[in-house]
Symmetry: C2
Subunit: 273 residues, 2 copies
Amino acid sequence: MTRLALNQITTKHWSLPEAVQGCVDAGIPAIGLWRDKVAETGLATAAKLVRDAGLSVSSLCRGGFLTAVGAEGRQTALAENLRALEEAAELGTDTLVMVVGGLAEGSRDLVGARARVAELLSELALHAGDFGVRLAIEPLHPMFCADRAVVSTLGQALDLAEQFPVEQVGVVVDSYHVWWDPELARQIARAGDRIASYQVCDWTLPLPADALLGRGHVGDGHIDFRTLTDQVAAAGYTGWIEVEIFNETVWGTPGAQTLRTMIERHHAHVETP
Amino acid sequence: MTRLALNQITTKHWSLPEAVQGCVDAGIPAIGLWRDKVAETGLATAAKLVRDAGLSVSSLCRGGFLTAVGAEGRQTALAENLRALEEAAELGTDTLVMVVGGLAEGSRDLVGARARVAELLSELALHAGDFGVRLAIEPLHPMFCADRAVVSTLGQALDLAEQFPVEQVGVVVDSYHVWWDPELARQIARAGDRIASYQVCDWTLPLPADALLGRGHVGDGHIDFRTLTDQVAAAGYTGWIEVEIFNETVWGTPGAQTLRTMIERHHAHVETP
């Protein structure tokens, strides 16, 4: 369990103080924070709470949304991501998860949207370095390409990341988004020390009405976590393994019970204690 | 409109004779048939109907489902695909669309499932050649990887197809399944004369409760058909452009109206008349 982290979206109905206390009570040593929850509590208070509890902050979710068209959209995105970098630094994490954004409203120009992501990253990368925080590009499952992230594969995320120093831009390996990829083993090996975060949850069927919310506890679905975890380890990743689940049923479950299930599944499918 | 074809799933509630008559009435010169509809009408009758109507058969849907484990599952799959090849030949089409199948029940062995697809293809390819029919491997959107097709990208389909002579094994380019792929332009160029079928429908959001049924008429969603069609043409493909839509609303619309919409959208977004 020493590498297990709670991504706080998994206990969506817990406030930040509740999630921190939940981790302490369950013996989970790290937490991935969300900016909206941090804002609710207040940045300085949140940072102090986590620090005083002795928890590590595995990541901050999230920056990104870099595909807006035009100077104004671009400025807004830059400003927002600079704020996120600053928050990450104050919270004591070196990882800002980046969901890059989907097609611009009414646009079918996927190539253009992808180009804008690369441009904005090149504006942000140096700042990230200054803050000591790494932009962790998260490829999202291709079913989210139109509306959420035009970066759809680990290979594509690495093509972007490799344009920058390794301490400025990395990638997220999230089981749910990448498990299907026939190139996965090769791309994880290629990723090496670009892997800034390893997130886990399972692919379960049927997809729910809101396709965002179909993720299951590790072990409930179709992903071979043993093999995936071995590949990520072989690439040299020794960081946190964050459980990030979007699922109405999980969200409706008492947080302490969710954490018990997480720990159980982590031992059964991911890391043997 | 000379290259437009109706894939008969688009008019799911039409029988085969109705779909044939619908194409004739609308001036659509080709039809992609489904095996269940052919069986309803009877193979010989269906073949005669289509021939007498002067229509071409753009493809037969579908063979595949090659991922079963064990000798029995393998024999069943072989026998079923041989029947499908025979039917395709009798119907006068040179293209059997292959949906390769998902993970075996309860299995998380994606690598193994993909290996079984390759093995069974090598059993089927020579037979396909004998029938003068090409096995057209269809990569399905990654959201169908677990339950429907472990071939998820055009690149992966080509890696399989290229192990066999071009007249035995080809690939399907279906806009819905491949539009998001950052490798798409490169893989279409690579595909060249391996492209056995070009199918179109649009990516629309939100995904419906049954994710299979989320496809829209060309022009209703996020796909840039002009660019995609240009890429397919540049690869050398001059065959049919089949409209294949799974969508309850489209299915609830009178067939003749659906065909009018298809023709309109084809002219507006795919081929200028």
